[in-house]
Structure formats: C-alpha cells, structure tokens
Symmetry: D2
Subunit: 307 residues, 4 copies
C-alpha cells in the first residue's frame, strides 16, 4: 500500500491555493502520516504551551488530489485504521483556550487558567498519565476535510468542508462523506487523537502522531452540503457553527435531508428524529462548535410498507 | 404504597406560592399520577394544537412537601418505575415551537410549519404510529423539580431547580438530585414521555399519562447548585441555559465540582472530563436548552493511589 | 400629587402573588419612591459587595394596582420626572457578574475580577468619582414592568413584562408601554440610574435612590407582546433574550409589528427598518440581554400617498 | 489624484493569495472604484435574486499594496469622500438571508420569505423607492479590510481583519484603523451603501456603485487586534463574532484596551465604559455579527489629574 508523508512544510489551512502532495484514484487505499496538533513541540510536563507554540497550529497532511473528483461529487473516506507512531500522547491547558475559560472570541478581563501539560504513556491499549488519568486507546482523526471553493480556512476551524470537527465518530470502521468543491477534492487530514471525551472540554485531546489508513471512493454528481458519517449501525450528520444551537439545527436538518434522500417524507423524518435521534457535542472549544446528529440504521431503513 | 393524585387544578409553575397536595417522609416511596403535557387535550390526528391548546401547558402534579427538608439540603429522588395509564402516546407539531422552526424567542417573519398530530398506539413494549414511526417504550419524566426560593417558574422552563429538562436519563433505575430551596422542598413532576430522542427535535416527545414510583431521600446540609443524576454506571450534571454553550459550560462545571467533592484535584478533573466525559443534548426546544455532562463511575471513582 | 412609598418589605419578584401597595386611576399622576439596586447596602469604597449583598437584590416598589386594567389592555406610563433622593450614586464590580467576566450562567473555572466600589458625588448636573470618572446626570428607571400572568419573575430579569431592562430610554419625557396580563396590571418600578452607558458593561450603573413621577394611562383592549417606548421623535421596541441576536430579532419584529398596526405593509416595514432603523444594546449583563430597536417618527408616520 | 479600478476579475476573498492591483505609498490619497454587492446583476424590481445571483458575491476592489507595510503595523485609512457612480441604489430580500428569517446557518424547515427587489432613485441627497421608502444619502463602505495572515476569508464575512462589517461609521470624515498582517497590508474595499440602518435588518442595504477617496497612513510597529474607527468626536472598536454577545465583548474589550494604551487604568476604563460607552449593532445578518463600542473623546481624553 502506498504511504503518503508531507514532503515539505505542513499546511495550516484547507485551501485550493496549495499544491497537491499526492494523487490517488477513486477506490484506492493509502496510508497517511500525520503530525500532532502542536507539530510535536510539546513533549514534557515542563513545557509551557504559550512559549513553545506559535501562530501556526494543527498542521495538516495534504492536499491529496483524488483523480476524477469534480465539484458536485461526494468523497467517501473509509477509515480502515489508525496506528500510533509514537508511544505517548499529550494534552495541555493553553491560556485563553478551552471550554471552561474565556477565550479570544468569548472575551473577559480575567486572568487565564494555569498552563499545564499532561503527558500520557501509551502501553498496549491504555494511556496513562496519573493513577486517575488512565484511559483506553480510542483513536480518531480530529481534523479531516476537503478544500473550500473559495476560502482558505484555518486548520483550527470546522465548517461545512469538514476540518477541525473533533468528532470521535471519525474513527476506524466508519466512513466520512465530504463535499467536493474543487477539482480533485483536495483532501487534508491530521490532528489524530488517541482518545477524547465529548466536547473536548479543555480544548486539547490526547494528541498523537499517527498513520491512518483510508480508502477513497467518489460518489459522482451527488453533492452534500455538510459532512456525514456512516458507521455499521448509524447515519450521522455534523454541523459546525456558533452559537451551539445553530450547529445542532444544521446537524439535524442535514440528517433529515439524508432521510428524505432515502425516501422519507420530510415531516415523518422530523418526527422520527424527535423520538429516536441522537445529538452529542463533538467539540465546544473550536472556532465553531461541532454537533453530531444521528439515527440508527434500523430506523432509517425501516420499510415504509409492512414495517 | 401511597398514591398521590392532583386533588384539584394542576399547577403550571414551580412555585412556593402554592399549597402542598401531600406530605412525605424522607425514605418514603410513593406513586404519583401525572397528566400529559397537553392535559390530554390532543387525542387524535385531526386535532389542531393551535385550537385545542391554550396558555396553560405542561400541568404538574405537586407540590409534595418532604418532611424535614430545609434550604441547603439536597433531595434525592430515586425513580423506581414509570407505568403508562393509557395505551397511546401523542406527539405534535405546534406552530412556532420546536427545534427546526422559528419560535416566539427566535423570531422570524416566516410562516409556521404545518400543524400535525402523531398518535402512537402502545402495545407491549412498542409504540406505533406508522410503519416507519415505530419505537420502543423508553419512559422517563420530562419535568421534575423543586420550588425556587423566590420565583415562580413556568412548568415549560428548565433551570437550576430542575423543571422541564426533557432529559432521557430521568428514567427508572436512576436517581435525580435536586436542590432544596424552600422548606419542604416542594417537589413537582409531570410530562412523562414514553420515549424521546436527544434534543426533542420537534418539541414534543411521545407524551403520555403515567404513574411514577419514586423514593424520596434527604441529604441534609449538602447543597447543590444544579440538578444531578446518578445511574448504575454514570454520574451526570444537567445545565439549562441559552445559548446552548452556556448550558454545556454549566453542565461540565457542575460535574467537575462533583468530582472535586469526591476528592479530585480540580485541574485533574478538568483534564479527565476532557478525555472521557460525555455531553449530549436533552432538549433544544424549551425556553432554556438542557445539556447533560457525564462520566462513568469507574473513572470518577478511580483510586488516586495505585490506580 | 400622591406619593407612594413601599410600606413594608420590598419585592424581589414581578408577581401577581403579592398584595398591591397602592391603587391608582387611569389618567392619574403619582410620585413613587425607589430604593437602589443594593437596597443601599453599598455606601463606601471600602465595602465588599460579596459580603454586604445577599440573594435579595434589586428591590422594587409596588405592586401598584391600576383601576380598570384588565388582561389584553396596554398600560402607558409617561415618565414626567426623576429626582435623586440622595447626593451620591454608586457603581461596583461584583464577583462573577458583568459583561467582561465569566458569570453564573457563562461559567468558567477562572478567578473573578477584583471587587471594587465606585462612589460618585452628585453636584448640580454632574456625578464625580475620580477626575476621569465624571459624567452628567442622565437619569432613567432601570427596572419597570407589570406582573406576568403566571410566573413570578426575579426583579433581576428583563423579559416581555418589562422588568430589569436597563434601557436608558426609560427616561423623563418618554412613555413606556407595558402589557397588562393580570387584573390591575400590578405595576412595579425601581433601580433608578443616575446614568448608564449602552450595555451597562460592568453590570452596575450609577445606582441611586430616587423619586419618579409618572402618569398612568390605560389603552383598553389593545394588547402588546413586548414593551415599547415612545419619545418625542422615536418609536422603540425592547426585546430581552439570550443569545443577544434573539433579543435583536424580537425588538425588530415587534417594531415591524407596530408599523403594521400604523398601516404599513409588513414587507415595506421590513425594508424601512433595514435602511433607517436603530438598534442599540441596553444591557449585556442581566439574565436576559435587552436590545432596543427604533425608528424616527418622521419615517414611521410618513404618508403612504404623496410622500 | 490617482484612480484605482479593478483591472480584471473582482475578488471574493480577503487573501494574500492574490496579486495586488496597485501600490500606494504611506501618506498617499487615491480614489477607488467599487462595484455593488451584487456586481450590478440586480437592476429592476422584476429581477429574482435567487436566479440572477450565484455563489460569487460582494466583489472587492483590491488588493492594494501599501509600500512599507509590515506585519505588526497598523494601517490608518482616512475616508475623505464617497461619491455615487450611478443614480440608483438597490435593496432586496434574498431567500434564507437576513435578520428576520431562518438562514443557511440558523436553519429551519420553513419556507423562505418572498423575494423582493427595491430600487431607489438617487436625486440630490435623497433616495426614493416608494412614498414611504424615502431616505437621505448617508454613504459608507460596507466592506473594508486587509489580508489575513493565513486564511482567505470570504468577502461576505467580517472578522478581525475588517471585511464585511456593514458598520455605518465607516463613512467620510472618519478614519478606520486596520491590522497589517502581511507585507503590503493588501487592502480591499467594496460594497458601498448609500445608507443603512443599524443591524442591516433584511441583509441588504442601499447598495450602490461608487468611488471612494481615501488616504493611507502607516503607523509603524503598533499592532491592533481588531478594527478601530475614529471620528471627530468618538473612538470606536468593532467586534465581529457569533453569538452577538461575543461580538459585544470583543468590541468593548478592545475599546478598553485602547483606553489603556492612552494611559488609563484598566479598571477605571471598565467603569467608564459602563457609565458612558455606546454599543450599537452594525449588522445582524452576516456570517458574523458586527457590534461597535464607542466612547466620546472628551471622556477618553479627560485629564487624569486636575480633571
């Protein structure tokens, strides 16, 4: 299988303005190496994030040009595996960043929370920092997306192209559907997490370098407006916006639209999602918040007649 | 076991200004009869909610005076069972109410969505409306709370007293912890749901009349600021606010506080919730949105030393 | 002219559950004495708000029963004058309260801002605290409203009954229109400010005790949904909600509705407010934010024909 | 004086990725021709915006390279004049865009508002559409900014680089201060409005083609984080974010910072803005909302000693 590494500098935007680092065919499976969100500049409990980090964060591997992809297509990315490429992960409290602090966008005059670095050792299937901070290996890609039509969007931002959604369901076994907005789709990914709770509360998950194995498939002439995810059992849509209720509305409206594509009446879909839908917070810390709406396939694919 | 029914008119506010309908002792188990959110005025697909409903909605059974309860205590309500008292449930689209419509508070000049009533037959463990709208019996109490110190809060509103949270984890097997703010706590409940998805998308779950069996226990001189829930496996805190990120912050800040009460360092708690916490939307339709933050007990009670 | 003073304890809720302290006729003018928002417990720079303040804040004078007022009427309150009843005003930084700090509803784990009390001397038309903190006398009533139909709403909260709007246009010369939701309207007021900027940034204006002279007039059988204000030159509507855009939508939607009542086509009104409307922030610190939408009368009353 | 016209295609992003169309010296005055927000595709009441408009909106003239500008400088843009280059302006209701409708980001399942085009004739100092829709000429630049360091930001978006703020104080006589984030600053402007109310309620002001005369001055090595405006009498800061309270916090925090730069103690500044600050809504319709905080110079420059 082909391995793709970033040949020169990483990218910090999802953008059509940069040259592809590789070209893949629809149906092809590749392994992609990713840096961690800090470009591996935080390595020990003694590091101070505010000193070692600069403006360039969340480096992405890409863009990868998918042969034949054209605006209006959908890119299906099947995640086959995520493997760590080092035996430790790192989390940190960064000044004025996170869910329980004022931030650059939610401004106050208060002092920041204390800086803090948490280094976890990865052994077998467990990550351990302190006796209490001991969690299982549950890897996923924090950032994944395609190039926007016009904008160059910061790798820190999730939006309708995917991006920094920090949604744990972007994990092995699942398929992520992304809109194609430029020729070749221009796929980027990075920011793998060894694990993360819903909301990514302090703003930094268990950050790790990794190699991810994905298969790309094009769905021709079938556009989607926002990212979707399919697992063995569920259909999901991801909305990213502020305030958080706007993200929730987007996620559920897109999921209702997916049901309509599957043959549902829109009002019956609205009612079904009311009674059986799921809605969790992927992140409450990024420049937009990401929420995931979902429905189990056994309801989504229930027969109209005969039940 | 004692059965409590509303003797006269129902209450539409959580309030100290109304007379208790019953008095219970700490440690007592009772069965309480509840009306549905529409006071059973919507009964068939031909009803028009805008015509049959008035301003008085979500009738509550109560207040129930808990002997010995004083401000600063916490009331533990163990939910032992919820049984339907009729064989059907009802959902509806109500003009300018719900998650994918403009509302009284999120105003637009658009026309409302079409009105619609969905009647479900309850047979065994299944509720059926149409071949596709067929869901299992997963009952919980949509509204549960105590009287505020000063205000009389509409039964449609969730806040720090509990109230109309529409959180599916308020279900049999779980214990809800509520603040005691007035003598006797003045407990109210109602609005039982035969089932509901996360977010309660259209604004109306599977509304049903029911009898709920609960056990009341007082935890003396141990105040809580917002409702908490404990299941066999999880600790949860519920925040209700707008915008939704404020509810998320409240829920996680309260849960972090709970961990600190259990002996955690607050920064270690912040880190743990980042990596292993859960965060889902109870409702995205009420006057405040309710979010639930949670952590599994096996992490919350992990030993500090020895791991 | 009749003078109205609170005979016993002040009220901390807008509520139908309390007994009127006075009865007035439609068309009557009265003078009402008001306490300051802290019930005069903060008097010097050395006071610590967190120590001298309790849970009971923003005391209101009332309720005043307006003879003949019935649900569905509108109460017009013409503000004829506001006079100080002491020669100083006070502002303060209160922990976890204000526009540039985390709060009880917008929670973070950060430390609060420093407490601080600012005492201003009132001499002639000027209030002076320090050489730089020297502002003109621009008095208005921070809190004004009627009793809700069902709820008892905290005197700290602005909503559709009026309440703690902190809108500088509630000032002498202007008329405030309030909904009548219970017999007698049950009018309350308090929280006079010697002056305040838009937004009431730190949460505490130039708080003062005062006597206000108002004239009450009933407009029979003409309900309004949210408070309105009329000045010599402008028509205004006040929306109070969170997030702030919901308050903005309410304010402009109500003002558009007012134009429609005046004979405008609703789309022409929407267009006119786009091009000539005003929209400022009354408060960004209370439990709901209050925004004021306005239009100059010369546009509102422009002739349809002939221009 | 030099005249600058867009030589080829307009730009729809604020971006470093595009070639400058002109170079100017610090201290130079130029006249810039601007298109309207629709690239002049809506010309009559019979046009349907949804048919004539595509994805490419709000064309900008630029980038203009300012000689000597380096990251960390501030670009002062003195607006000397705005003249119309045609005798009509146009406003419109665009489906799912505006302040009193659901939108692409605030999603509902409702039908859109009716489309509508409003053409105004400009005669002398008045714009007239109907007898009631008749407003004075109050021109300003809706969109103005510099290139971001990394991102390419849609010309529809206001943020910390300026952009589509739709703030009426960007008008002749005032000076706009913009951050320099890339060499040459890369200035863009467009979207002139013949007038607009606060909030830009329906989303479309009185759109016009124009020529603007501006003078560029560099302030070396003095960075600002967000745009500022200075008029003859006032200092202003503009925050753009969602929800609206985040924009308000940014605007006031930046203005407080400006006062600190002028020698104020930060707490005295916080107090002063509470009592004498202004806060209005520029737009409540764009991808971020823009709020303007302000203080009169006579307060900002009050003497510390002697007062």
């Amino acid at each position: 299988m082909r391995e793709i590494r970033q040949p020169g500098a990483y990218h910090y935007v999802f953008s059509r303005y940069v040259e592809p680092i590789a070209r893949v065919a629809s149906g092809e499976t590749v392994t992609i190496y990713t840096e961690d969100a800090f470009e591996s500049r935080i390595t020990s409990a003694g590091d101070r994030p505010s000193e070692v980090l600069g403006a360039y964060l969340n480096p992405q591997t890409g863009p990868i040009y998918v042969e034949g992809a054209e605006p209006g297509d959908t890119l299906a990315v099947r995640i086959l595996g995520i493997e760590p490429t080092r035996d430790w992960a790192v989390s940190a409290f960064i000044p004025y960043f996170g869910g329980l602090t004022s931030t650059r966008l939610t401004r106050t005059l208060q002092e920041p929370l204390p800086e803090r670095v948490w280094v976890y050792r990865l052994e077998g299937e467990m990550l351990t920092c302190t006796p209490r901070l001991r969690f299982p290996w549950r890897p996923f890609m924090g950032t994944i997306g395609t190039a926007p039509e016009l904008e160059a969007i910061s790798a820190l931002t999730p939006f309708d192209h995917g991006g920094n959604m920090d949604v744990p369901d972007v994990r092995p076994g699942n398929t992520v559907y992304l809109p194609v907005r430029v020729p070749g789709a221009l796929f980027f990914t990075g920011d793998c997490h060894a694990g993360q709770g819903e909301g990514e509360l302090c703003g930094v998950a268990l950050e790790i370098t990794a190699k991810v194995t994905v298969r790309f498939d094009l769905i021709k002439a079938k556009p989607i407006a926002w990212p979707r995810i399919e697992s063995a059992d569920e259909l999901m849509a991801v909305g990213s916006a502020r305030p958080m209720e706007d993200a929730a509305r987007i996620a559920y409206a897109e999921l209702a639209g997916w049901l309509v594509e599957l043959g549902w009446d829109r009002w019956e879909a609205y009612e079904a999602l009311t009674q059986i839908g799921g809605l969790y917070v992927g992140n409450m810390v990024d420049t937009y918040y990401s929420l995931v709406a979902k429905i189990q396939k056994r309801y989504a694919f229930a027969e109209q007649a005969g039940g």
